[in-house]
Symmetry: C2
Subunit: 202 residues, 2 copies
Amino acid sequence: MGVKERKEREQEKLRQKILDAASELFAREGYQNVSMRKIARRIEYSPTTIYLYFKDKADLLYQICEETFANLIKEIEKIETTFYEPIICLRKGMRAYIDFGLKYPNHYEVTFIAPLSDYLGEQHSYEGSSGQKAFEHIVQQVSESMKACQIKRGDVNTISQTLWAGIHGVTSLLIAHEDFPFVEKDELIDNTIDTLIKGLQH
Amino acid sequence: MGVKERKEREQEKLRQKILDAASELFAREGYQNVSMRKIARRIEYSPTTIYLYFKDKADLLYQICEETFANLIKEIEKIETTFYEPIICLRKGMRAYIDFGLKYPNHYEVTFIAPLSDYLGEQHSYEGSSGQKAFEHIVQQVSESMKACQIKRGDVNTISQTLWAGIHGVTSLLIAHEDFPFVEKDELIDNTIDTLIKGLQH
DNA sequence: TTTTACACTTAACACCGTTAAGTAAAAGAG
DNA sequence: CTCTTTTACTTAACGGTGTTAAGTGTAAAA
């Protein structure tokens, strides 16, 4: 009696269909410029159907961002298994973070740039989010770089948060201030990473 | 025949009244959560009256932010006349920038964190804005620190933008991620400034 | 064959930014 | 003092938004 199973599969399929449509629209037009009705039109269902699968627009957004940033974490983990030197992992991880943000600017915007509390009520806290996991990788790499004497000693949390601030700074500036006359992008990114790392060395 | 003058004064008074009401509401509740109708109710005029004084909601916001950030520039200029060493000016200027952002988080958000293009159409570009002026002070201080051999030589623009990215990073993280378990605020800010400056030295 | 459960839709609510048309009072002209 | 014009503001409306309550038809279960 696989009726239940079939129904569940069909539900999951529609859920994913909503997720895909919304993700594409958010990515292309930005969260604020995509209405629930627009998503509904795209998948050829009524707007209210979406509410059978997601609590509200913010929840839909949150699920999408979790899905997206899970991929960043995979990339970082791949780096960690590929390179041996902790300081190299740290550098490459930072670079991966920035590149990822620039690759998905609208996703990056809603998860890291714009105040979550506005979008996500209080329901989805920082605990257990992809954001937390990504940050914990930084902490890990900082800790190991310190152990290997590749950066100077200090409070691991403070240093990790400083690095995060730095890479978040470039990423978000480049995303948000399109019309600013930035120097060549790669030069700015490299200089930021170099300056931060150098500032942490002996 | 001072009729025209009196009328102009009265208009300016109402304009400022709108500006003040909107500024306070934006600061307390955030741009997105304040409607034109709410501002109108506050000043006891009809919503459409606001459109006689400001092009649209984004324009109103822009004028407010210009007014606010003009004060940051004054602070920075005061620092420049108070301290002699360029590197000290640079440090204190960076600190002033961050403190200012944290003091007016909602103003900071709409001018520096959230993508301007969304709010400000294309009418108010970066050219001539308070944001530009503030940045040019950084450029100036970097340039002079370099001349005084207090930081290592390099492209002034690249370095200035790197510093901006750094201080914008802390500021915006602290504003946007209220629920993140940051280390003590001052420690994080100081560490960020120290790391950046150290990374720029010989 | 009838009843129940479910997946989805229609209609509506209370808001939003913004514009077009209207109004009443003040200013200017004779 | 009267008539016309200008000005400062308001009312009403348009087309949108996120979201919810109520309704509907079909498929599954009894």
